[in-house]
Amino acid sequence: MTTPLLRVDDMRIALAGDGVTHNAVEGVSFEIGRGEAFGLVGESGCGKSITALAVMGLLRRPLSMAGGRIVLEGQEIQNASAAEMRRLRGKRIAMIFQEPMTALNPLSPVGRQIAEMFVLHEGMGWNEAMDRAEDALRQVRVPSPERRIRDYPHQLSGGMRQRVMIAIALACGPDLLVADEPTTALDVTVQAEIIDLMAELCAAKGTAILMISHDLGLVANMCRRVAVMYAGRIVEAQVSEAIFAHPTHPYTQGLVDSLPRLGERARRGRQRLREISGVVPSIAAYPGGCRFNPRCPASTGICREVAPDVTALPEGGLVRCYHHA
């Protein structure tokens, strides 16, 4: 068995506040193989973004990694020094963020922001780096790249800014691209383009993707395997076709059910949109036992007392539930 590109083992992220420490994320484990697209799905506040930040080593006070391991190609990096992490970032793992407007320096031309990567990691001079930046813009299909490199972020549309972010991230050919909700802030029509672009470029360069989103459909389309997070824990992980076809965790089932589907009205008549009742608990008030139990239609006594362990599923994948399908 080949070593996975990234392995996260039992990761725990602590949130310090007012003298009390909470575990924002607990027991999170997953693997991403070389060149594989892996999705991490969950609602806002479930901890998926900070998981991504932890992998990049970008957690800042009051968040910190309090336990577990992050292994990049066999090398443990959770305790790496700041200097070591800096060598990895941009070169081997790169990240793109949700809000392309605020994620780019408003006072610096976008070409220069791409060129920084080449100057930083490949020791190029600025002139050569700007030429490479122009190439990079061409690769992400920005029209008239020779003019665009001198533009400022506010002169570009949201979609184009995200393309610039992708160009920056993939500039030095990293092994892993962490994408934190890259299309959430974009128009629906642009979303599809960006996702396709990402998939195509990463496939061409052999870059693995850690795709983080709240959109189960989007993630399942793009990624080979998907993990679902709830309240800081991974509650289910399967191959993407399976997660749609037979979701095993009640939460996943709720997510899949709540997606409105074409043609349903014709088949089943008018129906209310299905929702998962209740709200996502805040970090300070995670329920005891299984964290989903207050909202779960299948919850029983033991669910409230003891958090379920991981159960391996017969077709591959895993789930954390006493009453999984």
Partner: protein, 311 residues
């Protein structure tokens, strides 16, 4: 670029006009302030017939609009009237004093920027550290100081006790005379700049694009150099501009304390002597200066922040 300059200057004119109007109103509409002012300086009593003649001469009985129009017309060509006290044209009295005031304000601002912005940066880059706490305590103390008292203490320590620097006066216009007044004047803006810079830099350090920069694998030093510096400076420049205005006001007292021959000390003397035309002239001068500085600061903005350029 020229368009922006033109537009900004055009904004100055109405404000200037309004100030001229205000100054005119204040000094002319209030009953008897002009002539009785001459009387009340206690140095001479003018007999009523002479006063009557002076009124006619100065056209004080003409309708207000006429007087205002005349005043604006005179001011526009640089004729600010004749001083009650010295009988010289106010413009002549002012012209000799502009450069000393300018020197003082520029020196004070330079000191304030160099020390204040540096401290603010250092404090923000190491929040919670000793330098942070010390700078901020220093800053709030600087804001609470009576600038002339601070000047007095400086004078005592450095000029009288240690005898390193002259205690007052313009001297030959050299640097040695400038040091104490500039520091006394600059300590207030320095304190404000330290606080504002610190807040601005902290804001920027928490910004999304700085996180992006870090995610690129940049060292913290490069992050500050390439991304934080310019963005924080944009925020700081606003304060610098505004502080210039207040500096002109504070300079009045510092100039008097150090016997500095500037516009401010002229104004104070004129107020004492109820020399209205000179007081008016000084106010206009000071406000003009403030407006010009603000325009320059606006221009600096345009150069630094491309978002404004392409509006």
């Amino acid at each position: 670029m020229l368009l922006v300059l033109g537009r900004r200057l055009a904004n100055v004119i109405p404000t200037l006009l309004a100030v001229v109007a205000l100054v005119f109103l204040l000094f002319s509409v209030l009953p008897g302030s002009f002539i009785s002012g001459m009387n009340e300086d206690g140095r001479s009593t003018i007999d009523p017939a002479v006063m009557e003649r002076m009124r006619k001469e100065m056209g004080l009985d003409d309708p207000l609009i006429e007087r205002f129009a005349k005043y604006v017309a005179h001011t526009a060509v640089g004729d600010l009237g004749i001083s009650f006290r010295t009988r010289e044209p106010v413009t002549k009295m002012l012209s000799g004093r502009i450069w000393p005031s300018l020197k003082l304000v520029l020196a004070a601002m330079t000191f304030a920027i160099l020390v204040g912005v540096t401290l603010g940066f250092l404090a923000a880059l190491k929040p919670g550290s000793l330098i942070d706490t010390a700078s901020m305590i220093g800053a709030i103390s600087g804001l609470s100081l009576s600038q002339f008292w601070f000047g007095l203490m400086l004078m005592y320590l450095f000029a009288l006790k240690l005898q390193w620097l002259p205690s007052f006066g313009y001297g030959d216009g050299g640097l040695r005379n400038l040091v104490l007044p500039a520091i006394a004047l600059g300590v207030g803006p320095m304190a404000l700049l330290a606080r504002t810079t610190r807040a601005a830099v902290l804001d920027v350090l928490n910004a999304d694009f700085v996180r992006t920069a870090r995610s690129k694998g940049m060292s913290e030093r490069l992050v500050v150099k390439w991304h934080v510096l310019r963005n924080a400076l944009v925020l700081v420049i606003t304060i610098v501009g505004l502080q210039f205005g207040s500096l002109m006001g504070q300079a009045v007292v510092v100039e008097k304390l150090f016997a500095w021959p500037g516009v401010g000390s002229l104004m104070v003397d004129s107020v004492f002597q109820r020399d209205m035309p000179t007081v008016q002239g000084c106010i206009l001068m000071i406000v003009l200066f403030f407006l010009v500085i603000n325009t320059l600061v606006d221009l600096a903005y345009v150069v630094i922040d491309p978002r404004i350029r392409y509006r």
